[in-house]
Symmetry: C2
Subunit: 343 residues, 2 copies
DNA sequence: CTGTTAGCGCTTTCAT
DNA sequence: ATGAAAGCGCTAACAG
């Protein structure tokens, strides 16, 4: 009758109803070993009967621990990030964690602000994909210093020793290029991404490495940089390639938008895949909707999210273990061969 | 020297350093009016000097208020939801709120579980897009009863009186159909979505309403349901339309994937837009990458997120106001005319 | 195995 | 305009 309006049942209410101490109730709730089966059952039954659920705020306040993971990415509505986050959420939820999401908009100031906020919020951990502008990592070093587990995904962070989950971009791009070579291409062009960004640098390197390894000449005039890897840029660069004087029979693109653009532009003047083979990167929805269907590299974004979450939660729960250690996980990508590169 | 390792500076430390009471410090921090300018400045300076920031957990614990908004959607990695969430995050962050995200996977049990958890977490509010399986709204009614502000987005929830933000699907579909009619189409087909889902029902209704209004006959054999609105279904249904005996000179599709499929299939046998005009729905990236470029309806997902967040935060902060009131906001969509329907 | 007790950092009356 | 003090619900020594 007392709690009729205060709505929330507390462990005190449970204890009183059962004539035990609040510690006993608290112990049952946290699965403390030193509790008899009898009282455990008694308490658990009462908990159900009275519809009690623990107040997570009070619990966090007291224990200085939360079940909340901060996630920072440039934008949520980018296909890749939304998939990664989906993976993070799924794994985290399963493990009893919640995720709180922030968008840095690739703005360094905002990213710092967010990270600082997360630090002061007593988050259990932080998963972040640093923005394009981010060159210094002091904000993340502070997180480490504050002893908050940290995982960086997708972008490399030179000089920051921390857990990282990344696509093996170099290997993936190598595989893509090698695939075209094995399909018979002798002169392969590359539409690359912003060379200020490590993953796009890696994709260019993978392309070059494959050419070298198979004794094909690297021709700079066949390498075109698309800063934003947009469809429109792809259209323009494909046109440039056509107009250039160096002939080519294959194109490795750093994403599927530019690859789709290349297909559209080039299929008007060449037969794909007979005379020209094209491969993209990321396995966007468009890759199956274009004709010919686009071969590509699946970037396993969803899987990456799961791995990032797993790595982080491991750290959170093994907090007492070797904190100085860190690992870099390279996610394997999958070559998906469709019509645009078949032979 | 005392706090050298306890890391966190508290209001107590500030108070001690200044020889004022903790209440004074607390008042300054919460902008209480009854504080002299002198002490306000004194405290604020010390706060900066000592690098103090308020402990949000302790604050929430004491005040029973949080700055955390729960967001529940079927999946984050669906283009539409990721855009809505992006909008929510942007507005919420600006207003000093954080968003905690959950995926129901369109699973009713999981959705209930999540909502219950959010309720017990003392969330400041909840924004939800109910899953496809959800037919009962008891879990949401409980949220309302617990006095937690609630906003539902995208899906209608019959029988639940609450704040809603929805696309005006009927009007949008009407506009799309009307556009084809005005462009000269006399016999228009429709590739519809799952008719168990209210928004797809509304799109079908909008289509029919337009035909009626312009005195065109509704022919059931020109209406094809694509349960999942996938590209493959689009391919199949476009084929069915070709093979049917009823001729048509326009197609209104319930999304861009099926519309893209229709274009691909039909441009082999008809001239688009000269002999056949096609319009999609949602303005997915693919709509500008296909040839001819696809006319479509922009669903303003990002804007919808902003509006949802705004509505919710209004409620949170005007908590004392008329709680029984609720509003339904219909988001205006935009007709985007591209090549596939021009005349 | 169980109970007693001391707070965590803050907000908020109630004084003055 | 400021201070004193109570206590939010829970955890975790410590004591038996």
């Amino acid at each position: 009758m007392k709690n009729i309006d205060s709505s929330r049942v507390t462990i005190k209410d449970i204890a009183k109803a059962l004539n035990v101490s609040i510690s006993t109730v608290s112990r049952v709730l946290s699965n403390h070993p030193a509790i008899s089966e009898a009282t455990r059952k008694l308490v658990n039954d009462k908990v159900k009967e009275m519809g009690f659920s623990i107040d997570p705020i009070a619990s966090s306040f007291r224990s200085k621990k939360t079940k909340s993971i901060g996630v920072v990415c440039p934008r949520i509505d980018i296909d890749f990030h939304s998939k990664v986050i989906s993976g993070i959420e799924e794994y985290a939820y399963q493990q009893g964690y919640q995720i709180t999401i922030f968008q840095s908009q690739d703005n360094y100031q905002k990213e710092k602000e967010i990270v600082q906020m997360i630090e002061s919020t007593l988050a259990a951990g932080l998963i972040i994909c640093p923005g394009l502008e981010t060159r210094k990592y002091d904000h993340l070093k502070k997180i480490k210093k504050a002893n908050i587990p940290l995982v960086v995904y997708d972008r490399s962070t030179d000089g920051l020793k921390t857990n990282k989950v990344m696509i093996n971009d170099l290997e993936a791009s190598f595989k893509a290029t090698e695939h075209l070579i094995k399909a018979g291409c002798k002169s392969i062009a590359h539409i690359s991404g912003d060379q200020e960004v490590s993953i796009f640098k890696a994709r260019l390197l993978g392309y070059k490495k494959a050419l070298e390894q198979y004794n094909l000449e690297i021709r700079e005039e066949l390498i075109k940089e698309a800063k934003h890897l947009s469809h429109q840029e792809g259209l323009n660069l494909a046109q440039e390639l056509i107009q250039g004087k160096t002939s080519f029979d294959g194109i490795v693109c750093a994403n599927d938008y530019t690859a789709a653009a290349a297909i559209q532009t080039l299929k008007k003047v060449r037969r794909i895949p007979e005379d020209l083979k094209i491969i993209g990167f990321s396995n966007y929805p468009i890759s199956t909707m274009i004709e010919p269907q686009l071969s590509t590299i699946d970037d396993s974004a969803y899987h990456m999210g799961k791995v990032a979450a797993k790595l982080l939660i491991q750290q959170i729960e093994d907090r007492d273990l070797d904190l100085l250690d860190y690992q870099e996980v390279l996610i394997k990508t999958e070559l998906i061969v469709r019509e645009s590169s078949s032979h």
